[in-house]
């Protein structure tokens, strides 16, 4: 017979509650890691999916995802002339808040360079891609707009012709795809107050001297995306574009590095630190539970020694119980994670490899906790049964 199992069966409710408790800790750790993965994944989403080899961005700036970027309106035409460039698309993305059916929604309005780009790289969950040059939009489900909805942006009404799932920007706002022309209009559209403020500012600077504003501030195009022809040399294209002097060039991996190591590094570190704290808490809690379970059984353990049980019997009982709790908690934590996290506002990405790593960590913790209990159990003397 298996002593550990017999004990679990006998006090099933208690063990189950313990497993649920530890399961919640595992769920929290899963959530933390998943949140981290989700944020990284969301941040990189557009960079990975949009299929650009090089990003031409405002000179001296780190690209539209790190700081504001505006490039001259002829950069796309200049790029078309560069040998080795297969396709050129303009890119613009702006965060907008708007009201729809009485609710205030947020979206990252993203321009598709229609007709070159009709959103063919998007995976639609319903509807179709853009067919008209104006007033059509593909909305991510997370924005809260349904297929066929009409939404007013700037002074125009847009019809939602398609929907996507899971397409968000680095801050978690759903993407709303329109044509680049429409996106520029939306970006340029300012409220009456903004216009007044701008006028006042212009008046002041005019009084102070010539305005320092450059061409770029008027342009709403934040980057140009290049794909290279097969066999084209990335370095040569890059050198040609950089020679213009007013733009910078970022590769896909530059973008990754910028996003992860600069824009998001604090958040990443914070989440990792929290995950670390959770693992420490989990270690302490599991260790305490196993230790208490062992302490409770010292009398029985002394009795086992008295009737001549080998240490292996006692060690097996404690370790098995420890791992049983760990395994049960992992299963429960896994189930709860899959039940709960999909309802969270931001994506919680549970990667099998991460969960495997977490399981290993829990295994190590259970082993450690078991050893703690065992070290106590092995110090019990058989005659303590009599006291």
């Amino acid at each position: 017979m298996n002593l550990a199992l017999a004990d679990v069966r006998h006090g099933f409710l208690r063990f189950f509650l313990t497993m649920i408790g530890v399961g919640f800790l595992i769920m929290a750790a899963t959530g933390m890691i998943g949140l981290y993965r989700g944020i990284v994944d969301d941040a990189l989403l557009i960079v990975e999916r949009i299929g650009a080899d090089l990003w031409v961005v405002q000179g001296g700036r780190a690209g539209p995802f790190s700081e504001s970027s505006a490039i001259a309106s002829d950069v796309d035409r200049r790029c078309e002339g560069v040998p080795g460039v297969a396709s050129v698309r303009r890119f613009v993305q702006i965060s907008r808040q708007f009201s729809f059916e009485g609710r205030t929604l947020r979206a990252a309005v993203t321009g598709l360079d229609f007709p070159t780009d009709r959103g063919d790289w998007l995976t639609l969950t319903s509807g179709r891609r853009l067919v008209a040059g104006h007033f059509e939009a593909i909305a991510d489900e997370s924005v809260g707009l349904h297929l066929g909805a009409r939404v007013r942006l700037a002074r125009d009404d847009f019809t939602i012709v398609g929907t996507t799932r899971g397409m968000v920007d680095a801050s978690g706002d759903g993407l709303l795809f329109v044509t680049v022309a429409d996106a520029s209009t939306i970006a340029q559209k300012r409220s009456g107050e903004e216009i007044l403020l701008a006028r006042a500012a212009a008046g002041r600077t005019a009084a102070a001297g010539p305005t320092g504003s450059s061409v770029q501030q008027d342009s709403k195009i934040s980057a140009v995306l290049l794909t290279l022809a097969p066999g084209a040399e990335e370095a040569r294209v890059r050198a040609t574009v950089l020679a213009w002097g007013d733009v910078d060039v970022l590769s896909r991996s530059d973008q990754r590095t910028l996003l992860l190591d600069q824009r998001l590094w604090r958040l990443r570190l914070q989440i990792l630190a929290f995950t670390g704290v959770l693992l420490v808490v989990m270690t302490i809690v599991i260790s305490l539970i196993i230790y208490m379970l062992t302490m409770e059984k010292l009398h029985q353990i002394a009795m086992l020694k008295l009737i001549g049980a080998r240490n292996s019997v006692i060690v097996a009982m404690i370790l098995q119980q420890s791992f049983l709790i760990g395994a049960g908690a992992l299963v429960l934590g896994f189930l709860m994670s899959h039940l709960v996290f999909p309802h969270f506002p931001r994506r919680v990405l549970i990667e099998p490899a991460d969960f495997a790593l977490l399981s290993t960590a829990v295994g190590v913790v259970c082993g450690f906790a078991g050893l703690l209990g065992i070290s106590r159990a092995l110090r019990v003397r058989a005659q303590e049964v009599l006291s």
Partner: protein, 286 residues
């Protein structure tokens, strides 16, 4: 009685430091118990009875003197008792005032456990446990947890557990103290039959002199010394004609068990039958 005594305590003392002084819990005690013998140890509280049992049961080392088992020296003041656990499991059964059953195992499992930790296959252990419990009148309690059993029933399960590995020596420390007089007498009767039928050497510490007629002899301890010991005397009781053979069989069986690999069988071990009654008015197993 011919042959070596099963248990032989030689000139054992046990000292416990107590503040500046030393308590002589046991002060030069010698005791031989042969196979098939049922010996009572009596004496006032604090006279060293439990200490004697702990030393005889290899749970405490003597401060001086030694303990022999079938002539072989097993315990001395320098002994590492933890290494005698295997020996204890195979040769000595213990019963205490409290049954000390594992609360999360059924009566049957409690008994079977004692065999499983000695590498008996689970199924065989289970079957033997059932036959032991049945022999003790507990056939309807096999699947019950200890909490569902009465004190007397628990004590009988503890006795079945002590018997599970067919020990040559059975030590009981006030096993009847928690039972009423009638049940206490039944338990002593049970020990009598264990000595008779199994040829075990049985030492029982007891206060209960109402059951004195069951014992082959009685040893009285006072202040750690034997005052009325007849060491090595042949049992007065005339019972057990075949007794001298039984220990022999038992020994052979033990020998065989040890050699037969990790998992042994218990097919050859079975409960000898119902417990005999001393007098018709006392049914030892209700």
């Amino acid at each position: 009685m011919t042959g070596e005594p099963v248990l032989s305590v030689r000139d054992a003392t046990r000292h416990y430091p107590s503040g500046d002084t030393v308590v002589k819990a046991l002060d030069g005690v010698s005791l031989d118990v042969h196979a098939g013998e049922l010996v009572a140890v009596i004496g006032p509280s604090g006279s060293g009875k439990s200490t004697l049992l702990l030393i005889a049961g290899l749970l405490e080392p003597p401060s001086s003197g030694e303990v022999r088992f079938r002539g072989a020296r097993v315990s001395t003041p320098a002994v590492d008792l933890d290494r005698l656990r295997d020996f204890r499991r195979r040769n000595i059964g213990f019963v205490f005032q409290k049954a000390n059953l594992i609360p999360f195992l059924t009566a049957g499992e409690n008994v079977a456990l004692a065999m499983e930790i000695d590498d008996v296959a689970p199924r065989a252990a289970r079957r033997h446990a059932e036959s032991l419990l049945t022999g003790l009148g507990l056939e309807r309690r096999i699947g019950n947890l200890p909490a569902r059993l009465s004190g007397g029933e628990q004590q009988r399960v503890a006795i079945a557990r002590a018997l599970a590995n067919d020990p040559a020596l059975l030590l009981a420390d006030e096993p009847t103290a928690a039972l009423d007089g009638r049940r206490g007498r039944q338990v002593i009767a049970l020990f009598r039959s264990i000595a008779d039928r199994r040829g075990a050497a049985v030492v029982v510490v007891t206060h209960d002199l109402r059951a004195a007629d069951y014992f082959d002899r009685t040893i009285e301890l006072i202040d750690g010394r034997i005052v009325d010991g007849r060491i090595g005397t042949t049992p007065a009781s005339g019972e057990g004609g075949g007794r001298s053979l039984e220990p022999e069989m038992f020994r052979n069986e033990t020998q065989h068990r040890r050699k037969s690999g990790a998992t042994r069988s218990v097919q050859d071990r079975s409960w000898p039958g119902p417990v005999p009654c001393r007098s018709p008015d006392e049914d030892p197993i209700p």
